[in-house]
């Protein structure tokens, strides 16, 4: 996709969300729409859509067991099996999936291939792995940290994570590490898409849009916390109200908050319809989540049906005389 068009669409869409929230939240009487209705709608669409997609995948059959075997199979007892890369048990599969989901093990294997003097040179390249891991974990921690806004009392692990995240103790209020890391990681992923020719060539608007959207979510969050402060007591009143299903719309929350909420809601709504569903799909990928035990245990294909196999009888009928002449035994003389 043409990069200018792609960027234009991605940036334009995010800008539109920001503008709608900016103006909309200042229209008298519309604040409940942006503060209550939109988050609820987004949440319902997100949960419903996510479940729908996963159920759709889950209901489609897995006719064959075709994992990519990246290590030694279970074989003769004196040959060491690679239980993680070529699992033969459920535990092995869980292990493989654990490292895949939590540490992006396959991405860690990434190498870069270049031509130099008629030779291909492969060099390890961990940037994409580091960038992806940094982004996902920062985002996860930020999401967990946000639970403090929805829960009374605030659970211990949320408080603990909060303290850990703010361990640098820079500035007032304290700077969260993940805030910075999230933006850095997103900037890297974004620039990588633009600067690496191959990446630019394969990228679609749907690849830029979530990056820009989440970047703006992070940026508005940071703005709200450090620069354009909002009344946190009112915010918590709203968020706790939302969580307890008794929503109230306190007065005097700054417009930046509504922009932030609109962006987050957009992400929630967009999620189930987009590539972001890889979050659910990774668990269902038959290339990774199956044991390599096809020869040990029979795997059943639910839609298996009999096929027409050219029978031995027909074969012998075709070649009987020739077989006899060659001294190959036949069933019927």
């Amino acid at each position: 996709m043409d990069v200018k068009v792609s960027l234009g669409i991605a940036l334009g869409a995010v800008l539109a969300i920001i503008l709608i929230a900016f103006f909309g939240a200042q229209v008298p009487g519309l604040q409940p729409i942006f503060g209550i209705f939109l988050p609820y709608a987004a949440f319902v669409i997100f949960i419903g859509g996510f479940i729908y997609r996963v159920v759709q995948w889950g209901r489609s059959p897995v006719p064959f067991r075709i994992p990519t075997t990246c290590g030694q199979q279970k074989t003769l007892p004196w040959i060491k099996q690679n239980k993680l890369e070529c699992p033969s048990s459920t535990l092995g599969v869980i292990g493989r999936m654990f490292f895949e989901v939590f540490f992006f093990r396959s991405l860690f294997k990434h190498t870069k291939a270049e031509m130099a003097d008629g030779n291909i040179i492969y060099s390890p390249s961990k940037w994409i792995w580091a960038g992806a891991l940094l982004f996902h974990y920062s985002f996860l921690i930020i999401v967990i940290r946000h639970l403090r806004l929805f829960m009374v009392p605030i659970p211990g692990f949320v408080k603990g994570l909060d303290t850990l995240d703010g361990i640098l103790q820079v500035g007032v209020p304290g700077l969260y590490l993940t805030d910075v890391l999230l933006l850095v990681a997103l900037a890297y992923l974004f620039i990588r898409r633009l600067a690496v020719p191959k990446m630019r060539y394969i990228s679609l608007p749907a690849d830029y849009f979530p990056l820009v959207l989440i970047f703006c979510i992070g940026a508005t969050g940071i703005l709200m916390r450090y620069f354009i402060r909002v009344d946190i007591v009112s915010v918590k009143q709203l968020t706790v109200g939302l969580a307890s299903l008794h929503p109230v719309m306190p007065k005097g929350i700054g417009v930046i908050f509504f922009i932030h909420v609109a962006l987050v809601s957009s992400l929630f709504i967009y999620f189930p319809f987009s590539k972001l569903m890889h979050a659910g799909g990774v668990f269902l990928s038959p290339g990774r989540n199956l044991a390599n035990t096809n020869r040990e245990k029979m795997h059943v294909n639910p839609w298996n049906y009999p096929v027409d196999i050219h029978s031995y009888e027909d074969y012998e009928n075709d070649f009987r005389e020739k077989m006899k002449a060659a001294g190959i035994p036949v069933e019927r003389e």
Partner: protein, 540 residues
Amino acid sequence: MAKLPKYYELLNIDYRPPKGNWMDTPVDIRPGIYCYPARPEVLKKASMNDRSDWKKYWVVEDEDWGLPDDWKERLLNKMRDMLSKYRTFKVYMDICVRCGACADKCHYFLGSGDPFNMPVLRAELLRSVYRGEFTTTGKILGRIAGARKLTKDVLRQIWYYMFQCSQCRRCSVFCPYGIDTAEITIMAREIMNELGMNIAWIQESVTKCLFTGNHLGLQPQTYKECIDCMLADIEEYVGITIDPSWNRKGAEILFVVPSGDVFADPGIFTLAGYLMLLEHIGLDYTWSTYASEGGDFGFFTANEVAKRMNGKIYREAKRLGVKWILGGECGHMWRVLNQYMTTWHGPIDFLEEPVSPITGTKFENAKAHKMVHISEFTADLIKHGKLKLDPSRNDRLRVTYHDSCNPSRGMGLYEEPRYIIKSVCNHFFEMPRNTIREQTFCCGSGSGLNASENMELRLRGGFPRQNALRYVRDKYGVNMLACICAIDRAAFPTAQQYWNPDVGVCGITELVANALIMEGEGPRTHNLRGFEIATWEPRP
């Protein structure tokens, strides 16, 4: 046939993609890259769509292919059907984030620089159609959502590039979600088979195999004659007379090999190796002319065709009343056997759990399937000291091992072949780590693409492997590439004549047979190829 570029022209590879939008890039179907279409009469004989409903004879390079009026509907119906039958297909259409990890992992991309050979873009060709024809967002947003309608031009592009994937699965190793491009091109090929859009090289083998029992179309007497030829060679060079049995009822084991080994140099020397090895240990086994093919080119057309071809092996095992089945060295054969065969035909209760009659080893990993790989079998024999070996007979050879794609990434057979080679050769050297084991490169001709009219594609795709081979040739003086795949043995000599003209190709059972000290053998002055062991210089 297209003129072959010189190697320095071929090496003029640029990994930077062109400017502009790939969706606007018209497909340029080039001679030397594509394979000829399957002949209608050959398709018809196999009861597959023979394109008789097309408006004209299919000429690939023509702008207008003369597709039937309802071409689009039929392709989309088939695609819908496949989406509902395979979770792989559905999930892989949905979850790619285009992270680019696979982009430079494909041997065809590394050897050509064609951006559509990046696995991600190869898949996007089909994914864009999936989004445009099957998803709501794609239907509404169109190109903004990366969606396209299926048009005749899009179909031409999809066909061209789905037959530039050898289904080696190297990209799937690096994908953070395990998306397997092989699975995507398998689906695409099956969808296009709905209209009879297969290639001649694959279809000829399929149709022959369905009726004569093997890809080469060798009738029973010819199949036997080919093996008799090797028996004569063994008698001459080894001094041993072997009289194997044919279609014999009551044998303990049925032995099935890829038919390529029966016919073509250097596979025939691997075949000679099988004959010597199994004679030496006194195995009670039989050959079959009906189940005379382990490979399955049907796998490169449609699932049902693959199953029809593969079904003969169990049928024959049942008819002959054997206990279990031993399989020879072959790549896609073992992918199909390992990942599909039992599911297609199981449960296999008429055979017994494989046990080596020589060592007593139970092959527990083959409990349900009842087939054992010759490398598993041989490694077990060597481990138990059942073979008398003289590795010094292979001392002229400086060997490297090519992990054939399918037994590697579709089975996990990595250590057995290495153990065997190290037991029968004194000089073994590994190619660089990024090019072996689970990261191994395809020979460049897999998945039925080992025709001759697409030679440029094959040489380009073979380049990453050949480049790694050249590295060990220069560094360690490697002069022999060992492998466990019949397509490898057919494809590498061609690739090596071009890229590494002083490195030979062999199957590992040939190496075993060279080193094997057989009871009553004559003076072993010549190897199975008829060259003097003491002075042999291998060539492709």
